[in-house]
């Protein structure tokens, strides 16, 4: 009886093994589902939200629409954005009136190593000057290298676009 049981168990085991191998065999002849990364890349990067970046402005095509209100800096949970403001006096002021101060964006320092990509800065921006980039394949050896000035980045992008045209 004991021997019979053992044999029955062995047959059961072999049967389930055969079923499993059958499944594996069937899937062996299916087309590949992976891509070989450096040679090929996946095609759905456009829906990915990469790091935060300044968008080319609608009113100001050579730069960003940023009005230097600092909402993004205040709303950021991890404090990864820093504004550097350039304060200018208004040009051609009326002699009777006091010249007005104009705030201009000098630099927007963004530390990607702290960012959690929650999108609070983007949602709260009153002029939608910020957006997610599609910069996915980004790796650096140094942590300092992923801290960058978004204004300079936007300028480089626009210049590159101009040269391409």
């Amino acid at each position: 009886m004991n021997l019979l049981g053992e044999i029955r168990e062995a047959i059961k085991g072999f049967y389930s093994l055969a079923v499993g191998m059958g499944v594996t065999g069937k899937y062996f002849f299916r087309p590949e589902v992976t891509v070989h990364y450096p040679r090929k890349t996946v095609d759905n990067v456009s829906t990915y939200s990469g790091h935060v970046e300044l968008q080319p402005g609608k009113k100001n095509p050579d730069g960003a629409d940023c009005i230097v209100c600092g909402t993004c800096v205040r709303n950021c949970p991890s404090g990864c954005l820093t504004l550097e403001v350039l304060e200018l006096m208004e040009e051609n002021p009326d002699l009777e009136k006091k010249p007005k101060k104009i705030k201009k964006l000098k630099a927007l320092i963004y530390d990607y190593s702290y960012c959690s990509l929650c999108g609070q800065c983007i949602e709260n921006c009153p002029v939608t000057a910020l957006g997610f980039s599609q910069h996915v394949y980004w790796a650096e050896f140094d942590r300092k290298a992923i801290k960058m000035d978004l204004v300079a980045r936007l300028k480089d992008q626009l210049n590159a676009k101009k040269e391409a045209m």
Binding site: E9, V23, T47, P77, S116, Q120, E123, F132
Partner: protein
């Protein structure tokens, strides 16, 4: 307290102190903190008597990130990204628990379309979570192939979620009064295809794994958890349902549009690792059902309440809101003192209660079975430590 008792760790206090005649000849080994089968930095001190475990004590705290304390410092909006990082596998359930609690506190109305979008995405995420568990558990038991299939399927779901949330793992998608982006036709069509795919894959999983003789030997009658004990430890989710109790927050404390949806709560009375396995596989089936129904019932309208506040300053008071996560009951308790940050924020994580079972379950089992038991509890370590 003398300095002697202050020095040392859990091992020094609880294991070294008892190294007397009675415990002589017993081997004490560390399973973790860097052990592949603990799926993170969980340390289990195991006292072995030959091949059998006479005592197993989980030591936690290696991944503590002070999420609760951070909640007291950050504003209600700023705390949102934290919720995706508590439980990385079912991030949207934690999103929902926190958002839901604040919505209840401030009495923010959520549009019907947003509720359905939440149900769809949350259930998608639940399938992703169960698929990862399914692959990783079988990997623990020594089967390598299944994780390849499960990640193939998970990839489809994650791609769909990426389409609308923008991220692939640590989602921060729900907002107070709705969701961040509306779902589009491509997502709806893709989700229908994914549901079809899952329906064809689940029978394959059954053939490949569930009916496999070797798996059954490793799961059946291993780590039998009586219902009374599960209740005593406050176990929830598939662990409790694997002991036969049909308890699901979606039915017990209904929230959102779940009362309108038709789904079953799978429960198996055996209480062993196989029962917990079956519950999770059956839950994937039910989640597919829920997604299909929600897609059919999806109304037109806003995905975000038009009057959703930009800054939240809730009234004084406290609120508790619970949702059903992939691992069990996720609860968020907020005490508000009327300021823009919570006075206290308490997170109830299911993995913590489920882990506390382990010491009792593993007693007297083989070491190899303890791995199976630990896997069947489906622990996510960041959730235990918060």
């Amino acid at each position: 307290m003398t300095t002697e008792t202050l020095c040392g760790d859990f091992y020094t206090h609880c294991f070294q102190a008892e190294q007397d005649k009675e415990h002589e000849g017993r081997l004490i080994i560390n399973m973790g903190p860097q052990h592949p089968s603990t799926h993170g930095v969980l340390r289990v001190i195991v006292e072995m008597e030959g091949e059998y475990i006479s005592r197993a004590e989980p030591v936690i705290g290696y991944l503590h990130r002070m999420h609760e304390k951070m909640g007291e410092i950050k504003t209600y909006h700023q705390y949102m990204p934290n919720m995706g990082r508590v439980d990385y596998l079912h991030a949207l359930a934690w999103n929902w628990a926190y958002i839901g609690a604040v919505e209840k506190l401030c009495q923010i109305e959520v549009p019907r379309r947003a509720e359905f979008i939440r149900v769809i995405t949350c259930e998608m995420n639940r399938i992703c979570s169960h698929l990862v568990w399914w692959g990783a558990y079988l990997l623990d038991l020594g089967a390598f192939t299944p994780i390849m299939y499960s990640f193939d399927d998970r990839e489809q779901a994650v791609d769909l979620l990426q389409m609308i949330t923008g991220s692939r793992l640590t989602y921060c998608y729900y907002r107070f009064g709705g969701v961040r982006t509306d779902i589009n036709d491509a997502f709806i069509a893709g989700t229908r295809d994914f549901c079809k795919l899952m329906k064809s894959r689940l029978p394959m999983y059954k053939d490949l794994v569930t009916d496999n003789y070797i798996l059954r030997k490793r799961c059946e009658e291993i780590g039998v958890l009586p219902l009374e004990m599960a209740r005593r430890y406050g176990a929830t989710g598939p662990v409790l349902r694997g002991s036969g109790q049909k308890y699901d927050v979606r039915r017990a404390e209904p929230y959102s549009v779940y009362p309108e949806l038709d789904f079953e709560i799978p429960a198996f009375p055996e209480g062993d690792a196989m029962a917990r396995y079956r519950v999770r596989v059956a839950e994937m089936e039910q989640s597919v059902r829920i997604i299909e129904q929600s897609l059919n019932m999806l109304p037109q309208g806003d995905f975000m309440a038009p009057k959703s506040p930009k800054r939240i300053k809730p009234p004084k008071g406290d609120v508790y809101f619970a949702v059903e996560g992939a691992r069990g009951k996720i609860g968020v308790y907020i005490i508000s003192d009327g300021s823009s940050t919570p006075y206290r924020l308490k997170l109830r994580s299911p993995s913590y209660s489920n882990l506390s079972l382990f010491a009792e379950l593993a007693k007297g089992t083989l070491l190899a079975d303890a791995v199976s038991i630990l896997g069947s509890l489906d622990l996510v370590i960041p959730e235990i430590d918060r």
